[in-house]
Each structure stands twice: as C-alpha cells, then as structure tokens.
C-alpha cells in the first residue's frame, strides 16, 4: 500500500484525485479510465473496501478524516496498481450460447414483439460491464471458482438471452452444470454494487434458478412434461 497526498476541492470524485496524483507526484501510477461519466465501466476499484466506479464516487461521500483507500478489484489477477486483468470475463462470455431467434414473423424477415415482454430484458441491457458484481461475488473473490462459476455479470447476460421473447435456445443445462448457477447463494452483494442499479439477484439469478428447478428438480413438473410428451 502506497500513501499519496493531494489537495481536494469541491465536487471532486475519486478518479479526479487519482488523476491529480498522477499529474503531481506519481506519473507511473496505473489506472484504467475512459468516460468519467459512469458509462464505460473502466474505472472499477475498491474504495474504502467497497467495489465502486471511481468516476461516480464523490469524495464528499467518504470519510475524509482518515486516508481513503483505493485498491484494485480482488477477483481478478492484478497487473499494475489499480489495473487488473479482466480478460477472463470475455472468455466466459464466449462460452454462453448465443441468441437464436425463432423464424421471422413477417415475410420481410422482421419480428413482432411487445414492449411489456422486452421490458424485463431491457433492464439487463443496461449493464456496462464494469465487473464490480464479479468482483464483489464471494464465489469468485474468496473461493476462486473461476473455472466452475460464470459470476453474476454473465448470469445477467444469460438471463437476458433466456428471457428474450424471440430466443429459442436452451441454456438451462449448461447454466446448472458448466456455468455453476448453484454456486450462487443469494447474498445480493452483486445487486448492491451495481452502478446501473440492475436488480441482478431478484430479476436475473433467482428467475434462472427457478427455471433450472422447473427443468431438473421439480418432480411434479417432470411428470406434467412426461404426460404432455405422450
């Protein structure tokens, strides 16, 4: 841990302070950032122990009578200073079955769907891939289950595809086995840190868990399916 001191002024966010330190006293301080508007998801870090976007955390919301701690995300391998290697996330995304729409509804090759059906999915589309939810998830952060569990970000991604009114692909078997949905123990930490306020646990993960129960754990549903097939 390195201590830096800098002058702060009204309205400054944590990223402003880091950039000011870079300019004043630590030119080689590594930090990833881009939009400074909470939309690119680049400046994720742990501020006073809480996963947050540096550009959206005002200094006047933090206790200033003691030093502010800024750490890199702990769920990913560190590269330098505040930068971590998040490439694992992009590999995980490739493993999830892609969108597979039903045949077009109209002869011109277009589809028809209602806003109320797409509302649920649109919430998930707000994700800016800051990976704060992955960072705070104890399954990845503390238990390092990166090989067995895809994490909340990609459960949201899978939910957006699974619940899409046009999608016909079945991902439930993979979600249960290869993607490790059962590892989630519903701590709701992912929901708490999401800068886009996506209700990750209640609207994405739990509905996916329920769909997996339908398919694999509910004997009554299995019986109904058996009779329907006949």
């Amino acid at each position: 841990m390195v201590n830096y001191t800098t002058e702060i002024s009204e309205g400054m966010v944590v990223l402003d302070a880091v950039l000011q330190i870079q300019a004043e006293s630590a030119g080689d301080l590594a930090c990833r950032w881009n939009c400074k508007a909470g939309k690119c998801g680049s400046c994720s870090a742990e501020i006073n122990g809480k996963p947050k976007l540096m550009c959206m955390t005002r200094l006047n919301t933090l206790l200033m009578d003691e030093p502010v701690t800024i750490e890199p995300m702990r769920a990913f391998p560190p590269i330098k200073d505040l930068i971590t290697d998040v490439s694992w996330n992009f590999e995980v995304k490739k493993r999830i079955k892609k969108f597979k729409p039903r045949p077009p509804d109209a002869p011109d090759g277009t589809w028809r769907m209602y806003q109320e059906d797409i509302d649920r999915v649109q919430e998930f589309r707000k994700c800016i891939e800051c990976f704060l939810c992955q960072d705070v998830c104890h399954v990845l952060r503390d238990h390092e289950k990166h090989a067995d569990f895809i994490g909340p970000r990609f459960l949201v991604y899978a939910a957006a595809l699974e619940m899409h009114p046009l999608d016909t692909e079945d991902r439930l078997g993979e979600l249960k086995d290869a993607h490790g949905l059962g590892y989630c123990n519903i701590t709701k930490c992912c929901t708490k840190v999401c800068p886009e306020n996506i209700t990750i646990t209640d609207n994405a993960i739990i509905p996916l868990k329920e769909r997996v129960v339908d398919e694999f754990y509910d004997p009554f549903k299995k019986l109904v399916k058996l009779f329907r097939k006949k």
């Binding site: 006073n48 809480k50 890199p72 590892y183 123990n185 701590t187 930490c189 339908d214």
Partner: protein, 269 residues
C-alpha cells in the same frame, strides 16, 4: 517510496478495508432470527395456552393453526392413545414444519442466514473463515430447491389463518349467543394474515410459477396482471419477511398471555 506493484492475497475471516459498520446487519439478523427460532421452539413445546376463549373470544395462536390433533376442538380430536407418554407431543409439531420450511428455504432468508449464521460471507467484500465452498450446487443445500413446495403449503396456511380471523370476529356471551365483535386480538390476528400474505404472495417461486417462466407474458393478460402483483410484493419481500416474522411471533405471545390471564383482551366493538 514503496513499490507500486500490487500483490493480492486472500483475506482472512472478518478482514476488510470497509470502514462502515458492516457487522451490524448480520448481527441484527443473527439476533432476530435466533430469537424467533428459540421462542417458536419453546412455544411449540408448551402445548397449552394457545387458544384464548375468555370474554367469549375465540383466538387461536398461528403457531398452532390449523389445530389438527391434540384437543377436543382439533380436526381429529384428542391426542391418540398409541402415542407414548414419554414422547414430547404438541399440536404445533404437526404444522410448524410447514411455515418453518417455507422460511428456511426462502430466497431472502437464505442470503440473510448464510451471512449471519455461516459467515459465507460475513458481509459483502469481507473475508470468510472457510476456504472450501460448495454453495447450493450439492447436498445438503441443493435441497433448497424444494422451496416451491413449501410455498404451496404456505398458501394453504394463509387460508387457515384467514379462517381464524373470521372465527375471532365472533364472540359468545354467557347465554351462549354469538355476536359479531372485534377485539384487540382480532386485529392482531388480522394483521398477522396481512403481513404473512404480503410475505407469501411476494415469494420468488410464486413470481416464477405465476408467470415469470413465460417469455411472452403479453399473450396472457390475466397471468401478466398476477405476475405484476406478485412482482410488486416481491420488491418488498425483505420488509414483509421481517414484519411477518415479528407479527406472527407477537400473535402467539398475545394469545398465550391472554390465555394465561396476564394480559386482558380489550373488546373494541
């Protein structure tokens, strides 16, 4: 100046850089749930003072409703003779496993008690005591997937409790005449049904089964309205979970203390 290169090691139990009072929520959860489990177990073992019939009232504690077996007013009458005397018996034993299982497997409570009782994790971004982790992927926690069956039972219990409120609206005088009335106990039992209903009908499993499983709800307008209602309650699931827990416990305390003659039930109408 120290090196800028970062090395991250796994944090040990309770270790964190958080500066807020992160331990308060799990502690309150531990005390709240712990107190309820201790009290409800004690109350279930009592096997008496669960019905108040003083002043013509007819209040039944929700811990003992429906009264299946164990008294003259129970569905199947008195405790059968073939149950050995040495075996602890209480009418509550026959039913409490239903609502108990519903809460135990509830998605909200699971997250809460994994933190408060098992420190898995103690709080968000706080170090854990154990290295190994199986989650709800294997036995025993894979059994949490039974939640929807407990939900079906919980809905039936709500119907019985609503019937108890109806019974609590009728008071019998010394001459044996039954008249409509409202006592403090009636209001408490009604509040119990209200909060338990808010909790039960906001259940995540119900939300899924009533329509969440569909990708095109717009084709089923009635189902969509039901889904929206459950979703509305589901947003306040934590609030209803705690309020219903408190009120159901208090309902038993109220009936018990009235039945023991310690509290007086005031008749309002």
């Amino acid at each position: 100046m120290a090196s800028n290169l970062v090395s991250i090691t796994r944090r040990s139990a309770g270790q964190t850089m958080r500066k807020d009072l992160w331990w308060v929520t799990p502690l309150v959860t531990f005390l709240g749930l712990g107190a309820f489990v201790v009290y409800s177990t004690w109350a279930a073992f009592q096997g008496e003072h669960y019905r108040f019939i003083g002043n013509g009232a007819n209040y039944l504690s929700p811990f003992y409703s429906p009264e299946v077996l164990g008294s003259a007013t129970a569905f199947f009458g008195e405790k059968p003779g073939w149950i050995p005397e040495w075996l602890p018996f209480s009418p509550a034993f026959l039913i409490l496993w239903g609502p108990g299982g519903f809460r135990l497997t509830c998605y909200y409570y699971r997250g809460a008690y994994y933190k408060a009782f098992w420190a898995d994790p103690p709080a968000c971004s706080v170090g854990e005591p154990r290295h190994s982790y199986r989650g709800e992927n294997s036995f025993p926690l894979i059994l949490q997937n039974i939640h929807r069956y407990f939900m079906y039972l919980a809905v039936i219990f709500i119907l019985f409790l609503a019937h108890d409120v109806y019974e609590a609206l009728w008071f019998t005088d010394a001459a044996g005449n039954t008249t409509f009335g409202i006592g403090v106990g009636t209001i408490i039992l009604a509040a119990n049904v209200f909060f338990l209903g808010g909790y039960t009908f906001g259940c995540h499993s119900l939300r899924h089964l009533i329509g969440g499983w569909r990708d095109e709800l717009s084709k089923k307008p009635i189902q969509m309205s039901a889904y929206n209602c459950v979703t509305c309650l589901n947003r306040r699931h934590m609030l209803f979970a705690w309020l219903s827990l408190f009120v159901v416990g208090f309902s038993d305390i109220y009936v018990r203390l009235c039945s023991m003659g310690i509290w007086t039930d005031w008749r309002i109408i």
